[in-house]
Structures are given as structure tokens and as C-alpha cells.
């Protein structure tokens, strides 16, 4: 397996807290064949880490378009084609998982760093605040709070687990 990218979300959060005007570059990656739709790494990360994975998820119930679904791991998946950006889910979610900026109407792949290519990966790393994004060979290590988001991306954050 080639190199992965490691995003240190905890560090990023502290940096962002110091400088709220900071603009972060966005990147995306198509993780698995059954997960289509243009979603940023952040959205994926948020669903994986921040979301409380509510038992009787209010967001799913609230969605007027049936766009939200739980996958086998209990992670929320938002189907971009169905979502009408009404933001009901944002309102309903008791934990602030859903963020308004997920729902920008129109996204264009060309406007993101596409982590498919190593070159772009490096560019992305360079564009991020120093130290927050690194390119490593390392693997998932829950001890260090490093989890694999998908086969290209590792995220360092506290994982919320239901059980």
C-alpha cells in the first residue's frame, strides 16, 4: 500500500480556535465504490468521529428527502443526489454534528484537491497549516488516536463510540 495522508484534526481544531479567519483547503477522495457523490474529507471525518451515532437518529427521521442513511457500521451517509440542502438535519441534530457548510448547493470536483494523485496530495499538505497534515507510511493505531478513514486517509482524532 502506498503512502497515506494523515490529518491531525485535534491540532487543526486548536489552530482554528486561535485564528478563526483561517481558510482551510478542501480535499476529497472517493473512498469505496459504493460511496459515490462528492463529499469532502471533512464531512466523512465528521460523520465518523463527531457524530454520536444516535440509536434512533433524529437526523434521519427529520430528513424530508430520505437522503440520510446509516451504513452497516452505524455511520451516517448522506446521499448527495437526494439531499435537497434543506438543513433540517442541522437543526435537529442535538450534537452539532451536521454542519451547514456541508450543503453547499453545487460542488465541483475540480475545485478540490483530489487525493487520488500523489502530486495533489503533496500540494494539499503544503496548503494546510504546518504540521496538521502529513504524508506517512504509518497505519491505523487507535492508541495514538489515529484511525483510518479510508484507504488513503488517516485521521487523528478522538473517536466517539456508542458501545
Amino acid at each position: 500500500m502506498s503512502k497515506s495522508i494523515l490529518i491531525d484534526l485535534m491540532k487543526l481544531r486548536t489552530i482554528m480556535a486561535e485564528d478563526p479567519s483561517l481558510e482551510l483547503p478542501e480535499a476529497l477522495y472517493y473512498p469505496t465504490p459504493n460511496q459515490n457523490g462528492l463529499k469532502t474529507i471533512r464531512e466523512l471525518a465528521v460523520f465518523r468521529f463527531t457524530c454520536r451515532k444516535c440509536e434512533d437518529a433524529p437526523c434521519i427521521a427529520a430528513c424530508p428527502a430520505d437522503a440520510l442513511e446509516k451504513d452497516s457500521e452505524g455511520i451516517i451517509n448522506r446521499h448527495t443526489n437526494l439531499c435537497v440542502s434543506c438543513k433540517s438535519c442541522v437543526t435537529i441534530c442535538p450534537f452539532g454534528t451536521m454542519m451547514t457548510d456541508f450543503f453547499s448547493h453545487h460542488r465541483n470536483k475540480d475545485l478540490f484537491y483530489d487525493l487520488d494523485s500523489t502530486e495533489e496530495m503533496e500540494k494539499f499538505a503544503a496548503a494546510c497549516p504546518p504540521g496538521t497534515v502529513t504524508i506517512t507510511d504509518s497505519r491505523e493505531s487507535p492508541g495514538e488516536n489515529i484511525f483510518r478513514l479510508n484507504n488513503k486517509v488517516l485521521v487523528k482524532d478522538l473517536l466517539y463510540k456508542t458501545d
Partner: protein, 400 residues
């Protein structure tokens, strides 16, 4: 020795409802050259489409043109469903085809009427448009609107044609058939119409191939292409019908093809209605979650010919690039062949023969009086008028 002089047709000319400028370079009354100036109707739909979600794009493409306001969603749905690789339900297929064919009827009638109008034969205009009204009523009954029906979505249709509607629809169609016989007779047997349209605006087979013209324009010149048969979609493979062609390539042939096509359409609708009875009510959607990255090409046979949509998806919720080719785009270019060497009068009917069309969803509040700014009619009242009428129609036909 004689110079050529320019007669402008358009841009805001009663010949066309839409703005378009044709410059006829004339020598006396003879047209020697023709030039177009377009862009009056350019709305940047392809660009707009890139900023809308797939669901919204349906409303947008519906408003490419109000006359074939189903063909574009039809082709777009075909394209997107191709990318998403979904197979729609049979009921959906039937419903889609019914809407498509009803539209063909209304569009052809509209054309016959307008052609009459261009020829100064206002009686034909009035008659054709009168007979078109029941078809619009059908639309209103089924979809709630006379045009721009908002029926399509990815993976299905938005509204069902409930089985209780089948009866009244058939009744109206039967009625219509009789009137259509009358109209067809009036047009096809009128010697003066013959004199005005036969041998006028002739397009040869080769011209059609060269300009890649489509639809009735091509079929009237003996080029039997029809996407419904060639690249079947929706319910067309499930029903029996035939492609109408003519050989002459003149205006009359085009009229003939259109008039006869209406009968085919009626028969398709009847078969589809039969088909509907067999299907389960309400089974009109397949859920499509994501549109993957890829290219989708969709076609549909609009009243004027093949509509082609090519959708490039990058996996997001809106197209990356959306290329639309309306039939008129190919057909209008043939004017260069059909008009040159004819008189101005012939040129105008030749223009019309192709049924050119160059071509809208927020609702605003009120009718204002500019002087006082007083509101005269508010949106609710106006829409209410429309709604009343819709329910009146439904009541009349014992629906609800």
C-alpha cells in the same frame, strides 16, 4: 447586376413567438442567401445547469422550451439513469410515454395551427388550437399544469396516473380523434394549401444527412430515423406503433408526417393506458442515491426530432457539464438549403415547416398598478384562479 437586399425576419416578429433574427438577402422577392443572428434567447442553460442539483435540473430543462417541455426531461432522465445505471419500473415507463405522446399531439397541433397562421389561414389556426385545448386539459388533469408538467425525476416520475383517471382520459382521446379527423381532412384536402406548400422548401435526403436533421423534418424527406425505435427507451419497446415517413421533403410532406404521427401517438397512449392497468398503482419511483462519476448520453424523440443530452458527472449532486442538443438546433440550419431560391412568402413557411423553436420557476407576488403601486391581484388570487380551474376540470371528470 441586381444587388441583394436584406429583409429581416425578426427578432421580434409575429412569425415566431421567440426572438430570432433571420436575415434574408433578397433579390426582388427571391431569397438568395440567408443568415441567422441568434443569441436573443440565449439563457445560458447549460451553464445554469452546472449550478443546479440533478433534481433541479429537471425543472430547468423543462423550461428550455415550453412546447416540448417533456422531451428534455425525458432525455435528461435517460442520460442520468444511464450514469446511475438504474432500471425504472414499468409503470414509470408507461407514464413517461403517455406524457411524451400527449405532448407530441399538442405540439403537432400547435404547429398545424401556427403553419395555418403563417399562411394567413387563421381558421386553421383557431381550429387546431381549439382542438388542442382538450389535450391541455388532459395535462392539467394529470399533472396539474397545462405546460411544464414537472413530472420527471431521476428514477421515476413525481405523480402517478391513477387507474381511476384512465377512463376519462380515454374518453377525451376518443373525442379528440374525431375532431382530428376533421382537421386532417381540412388541411390535407385544401387545394390552396396544396398550392402553397407542395414543392416548397424541399429538402433532399442528402441535405438531411449533410445537416444531420432529425425528426419530422428528416422523416418527411424519407430518412426514417426515430429514436423511439432506433434507441428504444421508456415504454416504446412495449407497444406497437410505426414510424411515419414521406418522400417529398416539402412543406406539405412535413405537415402530412405530423398529422399522421398524431394518430400513432393516440394509439401509443391507448396501449400505454392498457399497460398501466396491469401495473401496481404507486410504483412510480426507484430511489437513486448517488450519481457516480461518468458520462451519460440520453436521447428522446421530441415532437421536432431527437433531443440529445450528454451529462458529464464528477460524482457530485450536479452535472459537471451538461450538453443539450435540441432538434431545432440541427433543423434550423437546413433553412439555408430549403429557403434559398424561393420567394419571401415561401421562405417564411419553409422556416415554419421545420417547426423551429429557440428556446423558466419562481412565482412572483402580484399585479401592480405602476402608478400607485397598488396591488390589484395578488399571487394567491391568480394562482387560485388556476387552481380553481384545475379542480373544476377534475370535478367535471369525477376525479375527487
Amino acid at each position: 447586376m441586381s444587388k441583394k437586399f436584406l429583409i429581416p425576419i425578426g427578432p421580434y416578429h409575429p412569425l415566431q413567438e421567440e426572438p430570432e433574427l433571420f436575415k434574408l438577402y433578397c433579390d426582388g422577392e427571391i431569397v438568395r442567401d440567408i443568415k441567422w443572428e441568434t443569441g436573443y434567447n440565449h439563457r445560458g442553460i447549460e451553464k445554469l445547469s452546472e449550478s443546479k442539483t440533478y433534481d433541479q435540473v429537471f425543472f430547468l430543462v423543462e423550461r428550455i422550451c415550453g412546447i416540448c417541455s417533456t422531451s428534455h426531461p425525458f432525455a435528461f432522465a435517460n442520460a442520468v439513469e444511464e450514469i446511475a445505471a438504474v432500471e425504472i419500473t414499468d409503470r414509470t415507463k408507461y407514464i413517461r410515454s403517455i406524457i411524451g405522446e400527449l405532448e407530441r399531439i399538442h405540439s403537432h397541433l400547435l404547429w398545424v395551427g401556427l403553419a395555418g397562421h403563417f399562411l394567413g389561414y387563421n381558421t386553421v389556426f383557431m381550429w387546431a388550437w381549439k382542438y388542442r385545448e382538450p389535450i391541455l386539459d388532459l395535462f392539467e388533469m394529470i399533472t396539474g399544469n397545462r405546460n411544464s408538467y414537472a413530472m420527471f425525476k431521476v428514477g421515476g416520475v413525481r405523480r402517478d396516473i391513477e387507474n381511476r383517471m384512465i377512463e376519462p382520459v380515454t374518453k377525451i382521446l376518443d373525442d379528440f380523434k374525431k375532431k382530428n379527423d376533421l382537421l386532417t381532412g381540412a388541411v390535407m384536402d385544401d387545394p390552396v394549401i396544396h398550392a402553397r406548400t407542395k414543392g416548397v422548401g424541399v429538402l433532399s435526403r442528402q441535405d438531411i444527412i449533410d445537416y444531420a436533421a432529425v425528426g419530422p423534418t428528416a422523416r418527411a424527406s424519407g430518412v426514417a430515423i426515430d429514436v423511439r425505435r432506433d434507441d428504444p427507451y421508456a415504454a416504446y419497446p412495449l407497444v406497437n406503433w410505426k414510424v411515419i415517413t414521406a418522400e417529398e421533403g416539402d412543406v406539405f410532406a412535413k405537415a402530412e408526417v405530423r398529422l399522421l404521427e398524431m394518430y400513432e401517438s393516440i394509439s401509443i397512449i391507448e396501449q400505454c393506458l392498457q399497460g398501466l392497468r396491469k401495473e401496481k398503482e404507486g410504483d412510480i419511483q426507484v430511489k437513486v442515491n448517488e450519481i457516480p462519476e461518468g458520462i451519460g448520453t440520453g436521447r428522446a424523440e421530441a415532437p421536432r426530432g431527437e433531443v440529445f443530452h450528454c451529462v458529464f458527472s464528477d460524482g457530485s449532486n450536479s452535472p459537471l457539464r451538461h450538453k443539450i442538443r435540441a432538434p431545432s438546433y440541427s433543423n434550423i440550419a437546413t433553412f439555408k438549403k430549403s429557403c434559398i431560391g424561393q420567394t419571401i412568402s415561401d421562405a417564411t413557411i419553409s422556416l415554419a415547416a421545420v417547426d423551429p423553436c429557440y428556446c423558466c420557476t419562481e412565482r412572483l407576488a402580484a399585479v401592480y398598478d405602476s402608478g400607485s403601486g397598488r396591488k390589484l391581484y395578488n399571487a394567491r388570487e391568480l394562482i387560485g384562479l388556476s387552481a380553481d380551474r384545475t379542480s373544476e376540470l377534475r370535478n367535471k371528470n369525477d376525479l375527487k
